[in-house]
């Protein structure tokens, strides 16, 4: 499972590098709200696995300071919503330190947290906030969708010299998937083709990947062969993978759970139109959350973020545009 893959990554990196440590709320004896850190306290002791008070600004800042001083902290923040309390430390300290020191100061800091909707936990526990971090130069943004990626990317994160926002999804912790045996490290900036196809490119990440794959299966029943791309890291972004796919399919759907306004999908769309405009046979479709806080009511919650059928419909629209074009010829 996704959460076991994350635990394996932390365990292996703590074993490999004695400067790796982890702090967070309820992560030691309790093993974390999502059981990611279970067993680490027994194995590595209270020096390297520490519970913190509920003080996000303080704990993120302390993690950043420890990273500057040469340790390798993992700070676990229960919900990405709570990371907002520590934004000064992320945005003004961690992200800027390297530049402000003329390149000498590095911050090998990893913040693990999770976001997304997940069964009625309401507006302050359901957000997808990757665009906030994406916007800040100096932060790397990682959003794994499957267990193998979760493990490989977290291990890579713990070998980086610059801050990493490692954004998990609460719906994915109990999802299953094969994880390669042995040393498994995935470099940032290398996307993954989760399903090859030739008719339309669906770009998605995190919990939108299982939905995009389900949408692709439905589209296949209609004879539409969708290619599903998972950039895995939004910063750095695997532009080459995206542009290669667009050159092949000429149609693009971008699916994000985050709200539409000012989102990462819009930025990826702008990159595609700037660098592959003449490859496009249809307008780029963006499937995104409504521009609204997430409501508690389960049906309303569902209506506020993209579902499988929303992706199917968007993909069909890109193909209808092609059929008009063919008719005109």
């Amino acid at each position: 499972m996704y959460r076991d893959a994350l635990r394996e990554a932390i365990d292996e990196e703590m074993e490999r590098d004695s400067s790796v440590f982890i702090i967070g709320e309820g992560i030691a004896e309790r093993g974390g709200s999502y059981k990611v850190t279970e067993g680490l306290l027994d194995k590595y002791g209270a020096n390297r696995v520490r519970d913190t008070p509920i003080a996000e600004a303080g704990m993120i800042g302390v993690g950043v300071g420890a990273a500057i001083a040469g340790a390798r902290p993992i700070v676990e923040i229960l919900y990405v919503d709570f990371a907002m309390l520590g934004m000064d430390m992320l945005v003004n300290q961690a992200a800027k330190f390297r530049l402000m020191t003329g390149g000498d100061g590095r911050v090998p800091f990893v913040m693990r947290t999770q976001g997304g909707t997940g069964g009625g936990v309401a507006a302050q526990h359901s957000q997808s906030l990757e665009a906030l971090f994406y916007h800040i130069p100096g932060l790397q943004v990682v959003m794994p969708s499957v267990p193998a990626d979760a493990k490989g990317l977290l291990k890579y994160a713990l070998r980086q010299q610059d801050p990493v926002m490692f954004l998990e999804h609460k719906h994915l912790y109990m999802t299953k998937g094969m994880v390669p045996d042995g040393e498994h490290v995935i470099e940032f900036g290398k996307g993954d083709i989760k399903r090859p196809g030739k008719d339309v490119t669906i770009i998605a990440w995190s919990n939108m990947i299982p939905r995009a794959l389900e949408a692709a299966a439905k589209l296949a029943e209609e004879g539409i062969d969708a290619e599903v791309l998972d950039p895995r890291t939004l910063v750095p972004l695997d532009k080459a993978m995206i542009l290669t796919s667009v050159a092949k399919t000429n149609r693009v759907v971008i699916a994000q759970e985050a709200v539409r306004r000012g989102g990462v999908a819009s930025d990826i769309a702008s990159i595609i139109q700037a660098e592959a405009f003449y490859d496009l046979d249809a307008p780029i479709e963006i499937v995104a959350g409504l521009n609204i806080p997430v409501p508690f009511n389960l049906e309303l919650e569902k209506a506020s973020v993209p579902q499988v059928d929303d992706i199917v419909v968007a993909a069909r629209r890109t193909l209808h545009a092609k059929s008009f074009a063919l008719a005109a010829e």
């Binding site: 990273a67 500057i68 001083a69 020191t101």
Partner: protein, 328 residues
């Protein structure tokens, strides 16, 4: 809270001279730096440490190699007391490639990670969690390093002040929080910022051993810090030291500080930390005036040489900048 050294012996000439040299070097740096600012050679912000020299001077003299400091937005004094290169500091203020941050950081961001200086900070209060983090890293690595964060009365009303000091306390970190109480948060006087103006009491409230010292007496600051640092190395940290002081001017070079009452300013100027360090050296060591003159002259020449060095230095080119930017 006493000017006696911690073991009761009279302070050595070496220590007294070190304190005076540091305090005077900061004084020269700031007064001459302001002139460069007025000439347009230094751009951006410049927050002088004038009047507060006794604190950085006394604290840093009690630390050793391998320790860490984190500074405030008024950070020149801490860098100098920590032993920073005057050449590289002036070059940074003049935005030159030879500066500490190659001109990428400026006055509010001078840092020297290799030397254990986590840097000044443009965000008031941010140095406290960063310093606690360095102390945590030292504990995890099992070293005997002590970290001092210089913070301020202005920063004491920011949430991270208590959040981070509390983390240091529950983990028994080797951390000394030096609260420079210059009695103004930019221009707001302390009585308007908090009901309890004795800030060391904040530490007591969460079980942190806390003291108050006259920040304009570098020897008293040194003695108190020395005790605190020794306790931290024995695993008895963290410790809070509130150092009372007063600025000699407004918040930054372009702030005339009209809100600072003349009588209060005069009171503190009579207790000038540089004059007191000089007097302590003269009175307790038997040094003669010509030696004092020689020290002052040497420090002035060092600053003049740094200005020449900086003027002769180049700036980061746009091509180099673009290459650096590509890494982002």
């Amino acid at each position: 809270m006493s000017a006696q050294s911690s073991n009761g012996n009279a302070p050595s000439r070496e220590l007294l001279e070190k304190l005076f040299r540091t305090a005077y070097k900061i004084r020269v740096f700031e007064t001459e730096g302001i002139k460069l600012y007025r000439q347009g050679l230094i751009r951006g912000y410049f927050h002088p440490y004038l009047g507060q020299e006794g604190i950085a001077t006394g604290v840093c003299a009690a630390l050793k190699d391998g320790d860490y400091i984190a500074s405030t937005h008024r950070g020149h004094g801490h860098c100098i007391a920590w032993g920073a290169s005057i050449n590289k500091m002036v070059a940074e203020l003049l935005q030159k490639d030879t500066g500490y941050c190659r001109g990428y950081g400026g006055s509010m961001h001078i840092a020297d990670i290799k030397a254990g200086n986590l840097g000044a900070n443009g965000i008031v209060g941010a140095g406290t969690p960063l310093g606690v983090g360095a102390a945590l890293a030292s504990q995890i690595k099992g070293t005997d390093a002590v970290t001092v964060t210089f913070t301020t009365d202005g920063a004491s009303n920011n949430g991270t002040f208590m959040e981070s000091l509390n983390l240091a306390a529950i983990w028994n970190l080797a951390f000394v929080l030096v609260v420079e109480n210059n009695q103004y948060a930019v221009s707001t006087k302390i009585e308007e910022s908090t009901r309890e103006v004795d800030l060391y009491k904040r530490g007591l409230a969460i079980g942190v051993e806390s003291y108050q010292v006259d920040g304009n007496d570098s020897l008293a600051v040194y003695n108190m810090t020395k005790d605190a640092v020794e306790k931290c190395r024995r695993g008895e940290g963290p410790i809070l030291i509130e150092a009372k002081t007063y600025r000699h001017m407004g918040h930054h070079v372009n702030d005339p500080g009209k809100y600072m009452p003349a009588d209060r300013l005069a009171y503190y100027k009579e207790r000038d930390p540089v004059d007191r360090a000089r007097a302590a050296l003269t009175e307790m060591s038997g040094i003669d005036q010509s030696e004092i003159d020689a020290i002052e002259n040497e420090i002035r020449l060092e600053f003049e040489a740094a200005v020449e060095f900086s003027k002769a230095s180049g700036e980061v080119t746009i091509a180099e900048f673009r290459e650096f930017a590509a890494a982002y």
